[in-house]
C-alpha cells in the first residue's frame, strides 16, 4: 500500500517538548514539509528564536542556529549575505519578532533580505509564563494583564502581517492559521510559497501563523483551537497581504 | 631632526590638504611623518586645524601640542595658537586675514599676503600652499620639488587640473620664504 503520510525528512526523530495541544509541532511539520517538497534540506540553514521554539534546532534536520532574543532576522541576514545560494529561514514567536525584535524584522524586510520568516503568533508569551504579548487581544487575561489587556495602559494588538505588507522589500506576506485541518493544509501551501519566493530571489517573505497556547490561555487543546478561530481570526484576518505580481493569489 | 607643524584656518581654506601635502612630501624624502586633524564640529564650517610631524627618527607622539611652526590662515587661529609656539619657532600668517597681535619675543613671526598672491595666480584657494611654500623656502625642511611632486598624492584625479596653480603657489611662496629669514626645524 502506498505511503500517503510520513514524518518529513527535514524533521529529526526527537519528540517535541511542546505542551499538549500546542500547535508549534504542526507548524514545525509544515515548514519541514515545505523544505522536503522543494528538496532543499541540505542547503537550508534555520535560525531559531528565544521563546518556546528555542530548541527548534533539535527538531529541524538541517543546519540550525540559535539566535539572541529578537535577532533572528539579523542573524539570518548574516548567513544569507555570506551564502546567497542557501535557503535561510527564521522561526520566531510574537515576543521575539513583534516586541524585542521589531527593528530587526522591519529592516530585514526593508532590505528585501532573501530569507523566509515563519512568525508564530499565539497572542501570549509562553515560555516565560503567560505574559502579555504585543499581539495579545484587548481584554485578554495574561499574567501581566490580570484584568485583561486594557487599551489605555497596555495598547492594542500589533498586526504584523499588515504592517510588514507596507514594506516594498517584503515580497510575500500572508497570515494563516492552524486551528482546523483545512487551515493547516492552507498554511502549508503558504509556507511553501514563501520558500519559493526566497528561491526565486525576489526578496523577503513572511508567513504569520496563528497558533494556540492552551497552557497559558488556560484552555483545553480543543477549546484553544476554537478560541483561536473565534477570537484571534477576527482581529488577525487571514489572507495574502502582498504577493509577487506574477504570482496567483492562494486561499489562506 | 623633529619638526612639529600646526596648520590652522577656516574650513575651506585648504588647511587639511596642505598639511597632507607637507606630510606626503616628507614621506617621499624618506622622513617619518604623521598627520593628525582636529575633528568633530570643527570639521563642519568652523576653524579647522591639523598637525604634521616630520622626523628623521621614529615619531613617538604624533600629537602637536607644542609646535615649532604655526601656519595661521585666519585671525582666530593666530590668536588661539600663536602662544603655543615654542621658543626658536616660527609663525607664518596670512596677512590678508590676520592682524598680528601679542608679543612673541623668541619666535620669528612672518606675515605673508597669501590671499593676494593666490589671487594673482588666479585661484584664492591656493593661498594655504603659498604659505606652505614660504615655510619650505624659509626652513628648507623639505624641497619644493617634493612638495610639487606630492600634489599628485593629495589632489584626487578629477582635480589634477589644479596642479599648475598649486605648483605656482608653492614656488612663489618658496621664493618669498627663501629671502625671508633663518632656517627653522
Amino acid at each position: 500500500m502506498p505511503k500517503t503520510f510520513q514524518r518529513p525528512q527535514a524533521l529529526t526523530d526527537k519528540p517535541f517538548h511542546y505542551c499538549p495541544g500546542c500547535t508549534h509541532g504542526i507548524i514545525h511539520r509544515l515548514v519541514a514539509e515545505a523544505v522536503d517538497q522543494l528538496a532543499v534540506r541540505k542547503k537550508t540553514v534555520g535560525v531559531c528564536p528565544v521563546g518556546c521554539a528555542v530548541f527548534a534546532y533539535d527538531y529541524f534536520n538541517c543546519d540550525m542556529i540559535q539566535a539572541a532574543h529578537g535577532r533572528a532576522p539579523a542573524v539570518a541576514t548574516g548567513v544569507k549575505r555570506v551564502l546567497p545560494d542557501r535557503v535561510v529561514f527564521t522561526y520566531q514567536g510574537d515576543g521575539d519578532l513583534a516586541a524585542i525584535g521589531t527593528a530587526e524584522i522591519v529592516h530585514a524586510a526593508a532590505r528585501g533580505e532573501k530569507i523566509t520568516t515563519i512568525f508564530v503568533n499565539n497572542a501570549i508569551y509562553g515560555m516565560t509564563g503567560g505574559q502579555m504579548a504585543p499581539t495579545t487581544l484587548l481584554g485578554q487575561k495574561t499574567t501581566t494583564t490580570p484584568h485583561g489587556r486594557d487599551r489605555e495602559t497596555a495598547g492594542s494588538p500589533l498586526r504584523v502581517a499588515e504592517m510588514l505588507s507596507t514594506i516594498d522589500g517584503a515580497v510575500y506576506v500572508s497570515r494563516v492559521s492552524v486551528h482546523s485541518p483545512r487551515h493547516v493544509r492552507l498554511a502549508g501551501r503558504a509556507i511553501k510559497k514563501a520558500f519559493e519566493v526566497q528561491l526565486s530571489g525576489q526578496g523577503f517573505s513572511v508567513v504569520e501563523v496563528l497558533s494556540t497556547c492552551p497552557t497559558n490561555w488556560g484552555l483545553s487543546p480543543r477549546e484553544a483551537l476554537k478560541w483561536l478561530g473565534e477570537n484571534m481570526v477576527p482581529v488577525f484576518p487571514l489572507g495574502e497581504f502582498r504577493t509577487p505580481s506574477a504570482e496567483e493569489a492562494i486561499e489562506c | 631632526m623633529l619638526v612639529e607643524i600646526l596648520l590652522a584656518g577656516f574650513g575651506g581654506q585648504g588647511v587639511m590638504s596642505t598639511g597632507q601635502l607637507l606630510a606626503y612630501a616628507g614621506m617621499h624624502e624618506g622622513l617619518h611623518v604623521a598627520w593628525i586633524p582636529s575633528y568633530g564640529p570643527e570639521m563642519r564650517g568652523g576653524t579647522a586645524n591639523c598637525g604634521v610631524t616630520l622626523s628623521d627618527t621614529e615619531i613617538s607622539s604624533p600629537l602637536v601640542t607644542e609646535p615649532q611652526v604655526l601656519i595661521a590662515m585666519n585671525q582666530p587661529s593666530f590668536e588661539k595658537y600663536a602662544g603655543a609656539v615654542v621658543p626658536g619657532g616660527v609663525i607664518l600668517y596670512n596677512s590678508a586675514l590676520v592682524k598680528e597681535t601679542g608679543e612673541y619675543p623668541e619666535v620669528l613671526v612672518v606675515g605673508v599676503d597669501a590671499n593676494r598672491m593666490a589671487e594673482e595666480i588666479g585661484n584664492v584657494r591656493v593661498a594655504a600652499n603659498v604659505i606652505l611654500g614660504a615655510y619650505i623656502g624659509l626652513s628648507g625642511v623639505i624641497s619644493v620639488a617634493s612638495a610639487v611632486e606630492a600634489l599628485k598624492d593629495v589632489l584626487p584625479p578629477h582635480r589634477r587640473k589644479l596642479i599648475p596653480a598649486n605648483r605656482e603657489a608653492l614656488e612663489r611662496g618658496a621664493a618669498l620664504g627663501a629671502g625671508g629669514g633663518r632656517a627653522v626645524g
Partner: protein, 369 residues
C-alpha cells in the same frame, strides 16, 4: 626604508585595509563618529573584491549579523565607537558562548553616555573584563600607529579563527583620524582556515551542524565554561604581547596603550634628557594583559606610572601584576582629552621628586587611584 610604495592612510581606513588583507569580505556596521571612515572605506572597497558591506539598522543588529556571518563560516568584521559597542555587548556574549570567531573594532570616544567624539580609553574595563554577561573573555588588541593597525587587524582575524573567539581591536579618535605612511601590499590576503563546524548547509556532511550558546543543563554548561577556562588559560600563557621601550635600566616604568603610549615614549625621551631613567611598557594585548612583562619590570624598577585617557582602568591590571611590590602611580585625562607630553613630564618629575616641591602639587586630574 622599504622598497614597497607607500601612501598616507587614515587610521580608520587602515582598520578596513587590514581587514581586507586578512581575507575579511563581510562587514556589518552602523554609523557612528569617530570611526565612520572605516565604514566608508569598506562600503566602497568590499564590493570591488566580491565582498559585502551592509549598513545595519542598529549596532544590536550589526553584531547579530556578524553572529550569522561567522556561523556561516566567514571572516567577518563590525566596527563602532563606545556607545555602539555598549549596544553590542549582548551579541558579543552570544558570540563567545557560541564559540564563533569575529573581529570587532572599537574606536573609543569620550563617555559616559553620549559623551563626545573626542579620543578616550574609558572602555578598557568593558573590553577586557567582559562587557557582556557571563564568564567569557575576548582577546583585545591595541595598536598605536596606522601601520600597526593593519598588522593587528590581520592578527585579530587569525586569533579569532585559532580560538573560535571574538577579538576586539581598540583604538581612539586620534588613532582613527591620524594619517601615517603604510606600505601598499600587492593585494595578497589571508584565507580563513576550514570551518567544519559552520552552519553553511549540511551538504555532504553526515549530520547537520548546530550553532548555539544554549546549555540548559547546568552540568553541561559548567563543563562548557570549564572548557572555556582551559582555552583562556592557554591564551593567557601564549598570547601576551607588548612593546618594551628603553626598559632595560628603567627606574620608572610608564605603562600606556594606544595613542597614550606614544605620548609616554616622548615623555621617556624627554625624561632621560633630564637624567630620569624611564621606560615604557606598551601593552599590545590588553587581554591577555602582558602581566609577565610587568612582573619582570617590577623586579627591577622603583615605581610605575600608568597613563590613560580615563579615570584609571588599566592601572588596576598593572597593580594586580605588580602585586604590591612597587608603588603604581596613575595619571589620566578622562572625558576626551589626550595627556600632553609636558603634563606627563611634570607628573614624572612630581612622583620622582626631581621637581623641587612638586610632591605637593596634585595630579592634574585630581584623581587619586
Amino acid at each position: 626604508m622599504s622598497h614597497l610604495p607607500r601612501v598616507l592612510m587614515k587610521g580608520n581606513e587602515a582598520f578596513g585595509e587590514g581587514a581586507v588583507r586578512a581575507g575579511c569580505r563581510h562587514t556589518f556596521a552602523y554609523p557612528i563618529t569617530p570611526q565612520s571612515e572605516l565604514a566608508h572605506f569598506l562600503a566602497r572597497r568590499l564590493p570591488e573584491i566580491g565582498g559585502v558591506f551592509v549598513q545595519a539598522e542598529s549596532e544590536v543588529s550589526a553584531i547579530n549579523m556578524v553572529f550569522g556571518a561567522a556561523a556561516a563560516g566567514a571572516r567577518v568584521l563590525t566596527s563602532s565607537s563606545s556607545p555602539g559597542i555598549s549596544l553590542m555587548q549582548e551579541g558579543i556574549s552570544y558570540i563567545a558562548g557560541a564559540r564563533l570567531p569575529c573581529v570587532i573594532v572599537n574606536v573609543m570616544r569620550g563617555g559616559p553616555g553620549l559623551g563626545n567624539i573626542a579620543p578616550a580609553q574609558g572602555d578598557y574595563f568593558q573590553a577586557v573584563k567582559g562587557g557582556g554577561h557571563g564568564d567569557y573573555c575576548q582577546i583585545v588588541l591595541a595598536p598605536a600607529s596606522v601601520p600597526e593597525i593593519i598588522e593587528m587587524m590581520i592578527l585579530a582575524f587569525d586569533l579569532a579563527d585559532r580560538y573560535r573567539n571574538p577579538v576586539m581591536v581598540v583604538g581612539d579618535g586620534v588613532l582613527g583620524q591620524m594619517m601615517e605612511p603604510v606600505e601598499i601590499e600587492p593585494g595578497e590576503t589571508r584565507t580563513a582556515p576550514a570551518k567544519p563546524w559552520a552552519t553553511d548547509g549540511q551538504g555532504d556532511r553526515p549530520a547537520p551542524n548546530i550553532i548555539s550558546s544554549l546549555n540548559i543543563v547546568p552540568e553541561d554548561n559548567e563543563r562548557f565554561n570549564l572548557d572555556l577556562a582551559v582555552m583562556y588559560a592557554e591564551i593567557r600563557r601564549g598570547e601576551q604581547r607588548c612593546e618594551e621601550y628603553r626598559l632595560d635600566d628603567a627606574e620608572l616604568v610608564l605603562v600606556a596603550f594606544g595613542t597614550v603610549a606614544r605620548v609616554a615614549k616622548a615623555v621617556v625621551d624627554r625624561a632621560r634628557r633630564d637624567g630620569i631613567r624611564a621606560g615604557v611598557i606598551r601593552p599590545i594585548t590588553l587581554w591577555p594583559f602582558p602581566e609577565d612583562s610587568v612582573k619582570r619590570a617590577a623586579a627591577r624598577a622603583d615605581r610605575f606610572l600608568v597613563v590613560e585617557m580615563s579615570l584609571g582602568q588599566m592601572v588596576e591590571d598593572v597593580r594586580l601584576s605588580v602585586e604590591g611590590e612597587k608603588p603604581v602611580h596613575f595619571f589620566g585625562r578622562p572625558g576626551g582629552l589626550v595627556p600632553t607630553v609636558r603634563e606627563v613630564c611634570n607628573e614624572v618629575k612630581r612622583i620622582t621628586g626631581v621637581m623641587p616641591g612638586a610632591e605637593d602639587v596634585p595630579a592634574a586630574t585630581g584623581v587619586d587611584r
